[in-house]
Amino acid sequence: MAQSAAFKRNLAGWAYVAPLVVVLIPFFVLPLIAVVAASFFETDGFGGLFPAFNLDNYTEILTSGLTFNLYYETIKFTVLTWFFSLLIGFFVAYFLVFHVRNQLLALGLFLLCTVPFWTSNIIRMISWIPLLGKEGLVNEALLKLGLIDQPLEFLLFSSFAVVVAYVHQLTIFMIVPIFNAMGRIDKRVVEAALDAGASRFDIMRLIIVPLSKSGIALGSIFVISIVMGDFFVVKVMSGGGSASVVGAFYENISVLQYPTAAASAVLLTIILVITVGLIIRFVDIRKEITR
């Protein structure tokens, strides 16, 4: 009897998630398997793929100095973006939760931060061009103020511009989960700490940061996976000066080198899974999300 009740519950659960699974299997699981399979295949160089078990694609990318450079660049951008978006996102959330006394105002300001998320990333990226260019606003202003003699070249089409564009796009992914985690901190804990003589720094170190950990973890997963999987920002904002793993993947695809591209994609996915897995080890995101 109990067994059949459990069976019915499982059946009902699966019936509800069936449409989701029906989409995810052909458009997430199978494509991933196809890419892994293609990484072992052979190609005639004209887009034809022949089933094989060939490790050459892996030896090729693993022994190439180019691969090392690609990963170095991508990881550099990931770490920089992660650091700055976390720094800004944390303090923006902290300001909204603990310093804005009017609830409705805090909510309004929060919404103001989220609106650009619902607009085009590409447009938000190119909107930096009139600001950072050689004749852009920043250079003009600095020249007028007499702080520099000639326009700064590193502002646009450089690693600097790439990081600016990423942080601009992705800080929202830090703000939302951290805001949410901080919103759940019981203010009485903070007041008790204040009464007990804790300093501002102690409160931050011993209460706010530990209790915001789940938000930080979730935000980090978003930011890291997006930067590592992106190629568009690096391509446009670096002006060709930097490459990215997915950018090289795209180049390989356009010259029909599917197996090499696939092998590099598999490598990237493994690194991504390890990173996300490490973060998940510290935070049970399912519990965090569904609670």
Partner: protein, 304 residues
């Protein structure tokens, strides 16, 4: 709790949450307030400033360039955008993007709602489905797009907007939709469902007459995510759209070729559409909350 909470917070906008004052709500503000207020202002400036620049620059006349100072004031580049062939098929791609986004929105709302209902109770294998969803969210879009292309190739179906691109976009919008549903449903009081059942409602009646009306603001939020994420989607669509472009793909090819304010004009147009959609969604949510409060005075407001 990810972006899902955006809608969550929207949905509960009127209801007061826990007090958030760190110290007594009156009295002198600490010095950190002023430092953080400046940081926050700078953040908002950096968030909106560049966008404002391109809207202004898109209003230049024929002599206009990509940087300040602005030269003239006209709608030249907007006309140029929709009449010149060299800038590509802007109008066609806009219509295609809009239609595709509508279809994605409807499917995202229905599938996320059902999955949200399903995940409320534990069932065998729910963790697998959950992590499959998270995987779909964090996987590199371009790689998935190629994979979808390979699958379609193997099966022998041509890639096209409403087959491969639709599915590829759903693999991105659905995880967001379900996460928003989680946030919305975590505030849903099961007592209402039980009450409906006790009064003799069938399961379908309970969903139609109790669950859907109560969750309506959250469902609007899911629709907002579905539409805007599809309308702006780029990486997953690039390799799956087939021969016809969507608007983001059109913009991408423009960023590589066009060096006139036409690019900014396109940015302005697409952002206006986004803002209209965002405004309509938030307006609808606020309207629903108001009406609910008016109907049930004295009761708790933001249950959804």
């Amino acid at each position: 709790m990810s972006l899902a909470r955006v809608s969550d917070v929207v949905a509960t906008s009127v209801s007061a949450r826990r007090s958030r004052a760190i110290a007594p709500t009156s009295g002198r503000r600490p010095w950190t307030f002023y430092v953080l207020a400046i940081l926050f202002t700078l953040y908002l400036l950096a968030l909106y400033g560049p966008m404002a620049c391109i809207y202004i620059l898109s209003l230049q006349d024929l002599r206009g360039g990509l940087v300040f100072p602005i030269k003239g004031l006209s709608l030249h580049w907007f006309v140029d955008l929709f009449t010149q062939v060299r800038t590509g098929d802007v109008q066609g791609s806009f219509e295609r993007s809009f239609k595709l986004a509508l279809v994605v929105t409807v499917l995202t709302v229905v599938v996320s709602f059902l999955a949200g209902l399903g995940f409320r109770k534990r069932f065998a294998g729910d963790t697998v489905v959950f992590y499959m969803m998270i995987g779909s969210l964090v996987a590199p879009g371009l790689v998935l797009g190629i994979g979808v292309g390979l699958i379609f190739n193997a099966v022998g179906i041509d890639a096209s907007l409403f087959t491969s691109a639709l599915g590829a976009q759903l693999s991105w919008t659905l995880p967001f939709g379900v996460l928003v549903m989680f946030a919305v449903m975590s505030r849903f009081d099961h007592a209402w469902e039980e009450a409906a059942r006790d009064l003799g409602a069938s399961p379908w009646q309970t969903i139609r007459l109790v669950v859907i009306p109560v969750l309506a603001p959250g469902i609007v939020a899911v629709a907002l995510f579905g539409f805007t994420l599809s309308y702006d989607e780029f990486a997953r669509t690039l390799q799956t759209a087939g021969s016809l472009n969507t608007l983001p793909l059109e913009i991408w090819s423009m960023t590589l070729n066009i060096t006139s304010p036409a690019l900014y004009a396109l940015g302005t147009v697409t952002t206006i559409v986004s803002f209209l959609v965002i405004g309509a969604s938030l307006g609808t949510i606020a309207f629903m909350q108001k009406r609910r409060e008016a109907r049930a005075p004295g009761q708790q407001g933001g249950a959804a």
